[in-house]
């Protein structure tokens, strides 16, 4: 885990036309969700500690709110990380391959990853429907449990899309792309976590 800053500029999509506008909008929303999620989590956790020490009473829904936020951050973040080529990978062997082999491998990696993400999206949606059918409520907040999981299939789907688009990009472009907006071998490639 590094605390190396992520690129501060919002991702400009290089998809054509309306798709590009949608993609850029999604990227912005994800960025806001990430930052807001962390800030809210900090505010919630800090308020709980201050409340316990100063006012001698904790926030009764603090833990549930943090659970909701960590799910939000994780599943908004996996797609954002895919877009910026920031998922941790062991690229040492990959990097030694000649260019055509690297391109083939990158397409294979992107396709297989996308398939897994779409599969998980499907089963996550199924899981939410099962949960919704049970109608359980979060004990403190009294909201349906499945609400906190709605980001899960969305996040998997968006991540799957990012990898699918990466595969397409590598098949159509002369360069090798780590993600839809990051060239392979670009600094962020070796950016560790």
């Amino acid at each position: 885990m590094s605390e190396i800053p992520a690129s501060a500029t919002p991702a400009e999509s290089n998809l054509p036309g309306v798709l590009g506008i949608v993609d850029t909008a999604i990227a912005r929303i994800e960025a806001v969700m990430l930052a807001a999620g962390v800030l809210l989590m900090a505010a919630n956790t800090v308020a709980n500690v201050v409340g316990r020490f100063v006012l001698q009473s904790s926030i009764y829904f603090s833990e549930e709110l943090n659970s909701i936020l960590i799910v939000l951050i994780t599943f908004a973040g996996i797609s954002y990380a895919a877009r910026h080529g920031r998922h941790i990978r062991m690229s040492a062997i990959f990097d030694q391959l000649p260019t055509p082999a690297r391109r083939t491998m990158m397409v294979l990696i992107a396709v297989v990853t996308a398939i897994f993400m779409f599969g998980l999206c499907w089963y996550a949606a199924g899981y939410i429907i099962t949960q919704a059918g049970r109608g359980r409520l979060l004990p403190a907040l009294q909201i349906p449990v499945w609400w906190m999981y709605v980001w899960v299939p969305v996040g998997f789907f968006m991540t799957g899309m990012q990898y699918a688009l990466t595969a397409v990009k590598n098949l159509t472009d002369k360069d090798i792309w780590l993600s839809t907006i990051v060239l392979e071998g670009y600094e962020e490639d070796s950016d560790p976590l």
């Binding site: 992520a6 930052a35 999620g37 709980n48 799910v71």
Partner: protein, 427 residues
């Protein structure tokens, strides 16, 4: 089934897939074969979500956030300057300062790679100018960052604690002893190195300068006080200490030092969110993986096949040390902890080992492994940050690895190195 799962994981890892995929694929194969089809995959999702929800894991994003604020602000730099003012002038002083600064920074941050960046970036140019060889400098920075992983807070310890059900507070306190021991050993080596290679010493800081450096660092010194003091004194749980650090970091950088604006806080939050997501998807996938292999009793089969139950406590600790050390030579420490801890859990239990000692040893091993060729992840951080070729980053590492392995063996035979402070605080 065990063999298939591990083969798939290793092949996907080495092929350069994002690390969540080997874990997800392995869990998937486990669920598929165990339940004869796709029927139980919703359980896999359920386990992934259960894996990321424990309240104690909230300490991870909070500590990352606090350290990120301090590094982008001025607190981290002030702490490093203070260390320099006191030990910079002795023979090998810059090298000793580097190790000490890693320890100091480790008391704020829970990650080795962040430490390589935060300490290495300002100190490497000064060491090169003073006449140290680059191979020594790089190896020193990469290996000293191990200390930061042991000194609380430690991301690795939080995740180990959650996966194994061990007290994170006790783990944090137990990491201090081995961390300081490594600092002492590295410092002695640095002095010997500087004497043998005749590296000139730095001018001595006057007491006035020292007083000023301490004054500058006075506020940031509150961080170790909050974390170690708060947890040691039983005032804070680790998650509460992390929240207190965030509040304190914001107070320092926004109000007292004014080194940051709200815009930077937002950018820092975003970058923290990104790092958190990348780690937590691994934690989730790891939880699903660990659930399915435990359900299929794979750990028991694997451990029985190496005959671990006849080895006794010392033998088991050696096997664990070697497994984690080798794992981290290839893969990210968090992935290694997520995969191997559940495998060793039954044997740790059955031979009656103290899980805090095991956690400390594991944390030390994953830290050492991350700094060890061929693929330790800290090496690649150093390559990326300092823009040096692989071979140069790796060349100076053997003496450090030998010293660290010495500490590992010492920790196995003298567990009090880790447990002394823990017993003092909690028993």
């Amino acid at each position: 089934m065990a063999l298939t799962i591990f083969l798939i994981m290793i092949v996907l890892l080495l092929a350069g897939f994002p690390m969540m995929i080997p874990l997800i694929a392995a869990a998937f194969v486990g669920f598929f074969t165990l339940f004869g089809g796709f029927g139980q995959l919703e359980t896999m999702i359920q386990q992934m979500l259960a894996g990321i929800r424990p309240a104690s894991l909230i300490a991870v994003p909070m500590f990352i956030f606090a350290a990120d604020i301090m590094t982008r602000g001025s607190s981290a730099g002030r702490l490093i300057d203070m260390v320099m003012a006191f030990v910079g002038h002795v023979r090998g002083g810059l090298a000793v300062s580097t190790a000490a600064a890693c320890t100091m920074f480790g008391a704020v941050s829970g990650s080795t790679q962040a430490t390589v960046v935060a300490v290495g970036t300002p100190l490497r140019p000064r060491m090169l100018k003073a006449g140290y060889k680059d191979s020594f400098v790089l190896a020193l920075i990469v290996n000293s960052s191990d200390i930061a992983f042991l000194i609380p807070p430690s991301i690795g310890m939080i995740i180990y604690g959650v996966v194994s059900g061990t007290s994170i507070a006790e783990l944090f306190i137990a990491g201090i002893g081995p961390g300081l021991l490594i600092l002492v050993i590295f410092s002695i080596y640095a002095v010997i190195y500087a004497t043998r290679h005749n590296v000139p010493t730095e001018p001595k800081a006057s007491w006035g300068e020292r007083a000023q450096a301490v004054q500058q660092a006075l506020w940031p010194l509150g961080f170790p006080a909050i974390i170690v003091g708060g947890i040691y004194g039983g005032v804070f749980s680790p998650t509460e200490a992390a929240a207190a650090c965030v509040l304190y970091a914001l107070l320092l950088e926004l109000v007292i030092f004014r080194s940051m604006g709200l815009k930077e806080v937002y950018a820092t939050a975003k970058s923290t969110g990104l790092i958190t997501a990348v780690v937590f998807i691994l934690v989730g996938a790891g939880a699903a993986f660990s659930w399915v292999i435990s359900f299929a009793q794979i750990p028991q089969q694997v451990l029985a096949s190496v005959g671990i139950s006849e080895m006794g406590q010392i033998g088991v600790l050696f096997v664990i040390s070697i497994a984690f050390f080798i794992g981290c030579m290839f893969v990210d420490p968090i992935v290694v902890i997520l995969v191997l801890v559940p495998i060793f859990a039954p044997v740790v239990d059955s031979v009656g080992l103290d899980p805090v000692l095991v956690g400390t040893i594991i944390t030390l091993q994953v830290a050492i492994g991350s700094a060890t060729p061929p693929f330790g992840c800290d090496i690649f951080t150093a390559i990326a940050v300092f823009k040096r070729p692989y071979i140069e980053v790796v060349r100076g590492t053997p003496p450090f690895i030998i010293m660290l392995l010495g500490v590992s063996v010492a920790l196995i035979f003298f567990p009090q190195i880790a447990l002394f402070l823990r017993d003092l605080a909690f028993r």
